[in-house]
Symmetry: D2
Subunit: 251 residues, 4 copies
Amino acid sequence: MCGHCVQCRTGNGHICRNTRIIGVDRDGAFAEYIAMPATNVLPLNGIPTTVGAVMDPMGNAFHTVLTADVSGSSVFIVGCGPIGCFAVGIARAAGAAKVIASDVNPKRLELARTMGAHVIINAARDDVVRTVVEETGGEGADVVCEMSGVPSALHQAFAAVRMGGRVQLLGIPKGEVPVDFAGEIIFKGITVYGVIGRKMYDTWHQMRRYLTAGLLDPRPVITHQFPLTQVDEALAAIRSGDAGKIILEIA
Amino acid sequence: MCGHCVQCRTGNGHICRNTRIIGVDRDGAFAEYIAMPATNVLPLNGIPTTVGAVMDPMGNAFHTVLTADVSGSSVFIVGCGPIGCFAVGIARAAGAAKVIASDVNPKRLELARTMGAHVIINAARDDVVRTVVEETGGEGADVVCEMSGVPSALHQAFAAVRMGGRVQLLGIPKGEVPVDFAGEIIFKGITVYGVIGRKMYDTWHQMRRYLTAGLLDPRPVITHQFPLTQVDEALAAIRSGDAGKIILEIA
Amino acid sequence: MCGHCVQCRTGNGHICRNTRIIGVDRDGAFAEYIAMPATNVLPLNGIPTTVGAVMDPMGNAFHTVLTADVSGSSVFIVGCGPIGCFAVGIARAAGAAKVIASDVNPKRLELARTMGAHVIINAARDDVVRTVVEETGGEGADVVCEMSGVPSALHQAFAAVRMGGRVQLLGIPKGEVPVDFAGEIIFKGITVYGVIGRKMYDTWHQMRRYLTAGLLDPRPVITHQFPLTQVDEALAAIRSGDAGKIILEIA
Amino acid sequence: MCGHCVQCRTGNGHICRNTRIIGVDRDGAFAEYIAMPATNVLPLNGIPTTVGAVMDPMGNAFHTVLTADVSGSSVFIVGCGPIGCFAVGIARAAGAAKVIASDVNPKRLELARTMGAHVIINAARDDVVRTVVEETGGEGADVVCEMSGVPSALHQAFAAVRMGGRVQLLGIPKGEVPVDFAGEIIFKGITVYGVIGRKMYDTWHQMRRYLTAGLLDPRPVITHQFPLTQVDEALAAIRSGDAGKIILEIA
C-alpha cells in the first residue's frame, strides 16, 4: 500500500499496484530484525497471540467468505488446507445454512468437520459434484469458495455452483487451465471473484470483531506448536501435508 | 400483489400499490371459510405447523434484520415484543457480534435473553443510550432495529446508532414525532429504512432456509397454546401484555 | 479525518468523529495564512481554477446524487440553491431519465433548467407533490434529493417519492420537524440517507472524473466573479439570494 | 420462466432452469402462427416498432452494461457487433467517462463511433491492451464488456481491465479457452460476471425507461429494412458481416 493512489484512497489498498509485500518484496519475519510500517500493526485487544499469529492467512479466508452473501446460503468449500478450514468456520459463524467441504486428505476433512462442516466429501473417492447437487436440493451451492488451486477442483467449483451463484477464487492454479466459458460461467449467469490479500482494512476489522466476539474459534486449525529452536521439526510437520497451522514460540 | 405492476415484476411485490392485505382488505383466517390465492401458499417442508403459524410476523423480523449487514456487527433491538424477540434470534443466527435488546417489561427482556441477546437493558430503569454506547466501545451500534413504535424509543434508536450506521424502522408510532433531522440523521450520515411486510419472495425463502437448517429455533417466543374452543383465554393472554406468540390449535 | 479510526481506515473518513473541519474547527481560507494537511490537497489536472473553487460544495451534490441509483430513474431535486443546481447537472450526466426541480425563486429555477432539469416547479405557486406524481406516471419519483432544509419541502420529499424509493437528505432544517413515520417512511418502504460531507475519497475521485471527462459543466452555477478587493460586493450579492456561486479572484 | 421456482420468485427468472426459450425450445416468430405467453408481452408505449423489433438483443446489452457500475467510469467494449454497438450507446447514456471500443471490422468501428465511442481500436492493426491502458491513465478500464466470444479478445479483456475492475462476459467462445487464473483473474482481484438473457423484468423496465426518455437512440444500429417478401436479401445482408440489425417489415 502506497497510501496515495486511487485504490489506497478508496478502501482498496489490497490492490494497490505499489504494494511491497513483506516477506516477498522485502524482508519478512524470518529476518533477524524487521522494521514494520505502522499501518501494518494492529493491537490484538485480548486475542491470544497464537491466534494473532495466524491472522494473516485467516484474513484470506475472511476476505473470501465475507465478500459473498453466505447468510442462510449453502456454501461449498473446495480444499481443506488451513485457509479452507478457517473458511468453514467463518461460513458457519456468518449464518450459512449448510457448509459442504471437499478434499482428498481424510485428516483435513476431519479438521473441516471439527470446524463445523455439515457435509464432507472425499474427492478421491466420491462424486463431488453429484454430492453437492444432492445436498442442495438439486440446485447446486449458492456460494463456492475454491481454496485448492487444483484444476479438476476448479471445474468442480463451476459445476457445483447453482445458476446465478457466486464462485470465490483463492487457490492459485499453476499455469493455464482450459475453461468452457459458455457452459461453466456464461450460461450459468454466475459471478466469479478473484480473492487477493485482505481488504485494507475492512477484512482486518471484521476478523478482529469475529474473534473478540467469540463467533469463531480458529484454534483447532493450529495443529502444532514448537519452540523457535525446533524450527526444523516445524518445517518437517508442514512438509508432511497433514498439519494445519504451526506456531513457533519465541521464548 | 397484483403481479403486473413494475414493483411486482421486479421482486418488490411487498410495496405493490394494488396489494389487498388478507385480514385487512379482505377476510382473513378468522372467517369461517377463506379462499387463499395460490401465490400466498408455501409448503412447510417439514417445518412444524406451530412454527408455520408464526411465520407471518417472524417474516417481518427477517425482513428487518436481513436487509441490514449484521454479520460481525453490533445490533441493538429496541422493543422485545414477539417480533423483537424473533429479531434477536435472527441477528444471532446471522453472525452478529453483539446483540443488545431493550424493553420496559422484564418478562420480555428475559425472553430476549433466551433468544440470544448478549445484553438486555430495562428502559424503565437504565440509561439506554449510554449502555449501548458503552457496550459498543464508545461507537454506538452498527445496526439498530426499532420494533416498538414508542417515540422515546425512536429517539434512542437514532442516538444509539453509530456514525454511518443503519436504523431499521418497523414499529409504528401513533401520530407525528418531532425529529431533529440535523442531529439525529444528517450529521450522523446514517441510513434509515422503512420495513413494510415481507419481501416477495426473498424474505420467505430466507426464512424457510433458516428454519429448515435449524439456524434459529423461534419456539421460545410461542408462550401459549390453546385449543380453538379456548379462543377467549387466548385473547385474554394477549391482552395481559406478557405473552409472546399464542397458537390456536384446530383439532 | 484522524486517519486511524475504523471509519477512516474503511473508506468512511467523512464520518470520522475526530474530524476537525477547516473553516469551522480551525482557521479556513479567510485567514491570512493557512496550513493545509497534505491529505486535503488534490491536483486539479486541468480542471479550471474557477471550477476548482466550487468543488467543495459541488462535492456535496456528487455525494448526494451518486449514492442513489439514478441511471434510468426519475430524480426530484428539492431546492435549487447552488448545490441543488449542481445536483441537477450531475443527475443528468449520470443518466437520469427525468429530472424535476422545485424552488420558490424563479431565478434559481431558471438556473436549474439551464443545468438540465426537464421539469421545474415553482413551489410558491404550483402543487409540488401532484406535479411530481403526474410527471412520473402516477408512481412518484424514484429518488428525491432534499437540498433546502425547509420543513414543508421535507414533507414534499416524503410525499413525492415512490413506494420503495430513496430520499437523500442534505438540507439542514432548523430545530425539530414533526414527522408521521408510519405514513411518510415505514408504509412506503423507503430508504432515507443522511448526506454529510464528501466521501473520502470516493466522492473526490468521481467528481474529478466527471469534470475531466466533460460530463458536467458546472460553470453556469458560478454567477459572479469579483477581484478579492471587492469582497464586500461579493458578500452583498450572496445576501441578495439570487446568486449562485461567487468566485473571488486572487490576483 | 416457470414462475414457480426460487429463481422466478426472487426476480431471477432469467436463470430459471425450466425456461423454454421461444425460438429455441419452441417455435419462434419465424413460424406461421405463434402463441406468446402473456408474461412475454410488453406494451411499447410509444417506442417505434422498428426499435421494439431489436429490444431482445438490445436487452442483452442493457443487462451487460447496467449490472456494472459505469457512471463516471472508463468502459471498454470488446466487439462491435450490434449488441456491442448498443452497449456503447448505453454506457454513454449511463454516464461513462470514457468509452473505448475494439473490433477488426472498420465498418463496425465506425458504427461504434456513431453510437458514442470516444476511442475506437482496430484490433487487426493496433495494440489493443496498450491502447486501453494508455487511454485510462495507465490503470486499465474500470469495466470491460466482452461481446465477441473470440479467445484472443477474451484475453485482451482480462489484460485491459484495471486491478479490482469488472469483466462482463456476453460473447460465447466455441469450445475451451486456456486461462491463467492467477495472472488474469485472482491476482488482479477482479469480478467476472456471466451475462445470460435479460433480467426478468428489471432489464426490460430499465430499457423501456431509457428509450422513452430518449437517453439512447439505437436506430443507427439498424442498418437495413426490407419488406417481408425480401427475406432472402435480408439474410444475405446479415451474412455479409457488415450489417448491424436488419428489420423485416410485415405489411
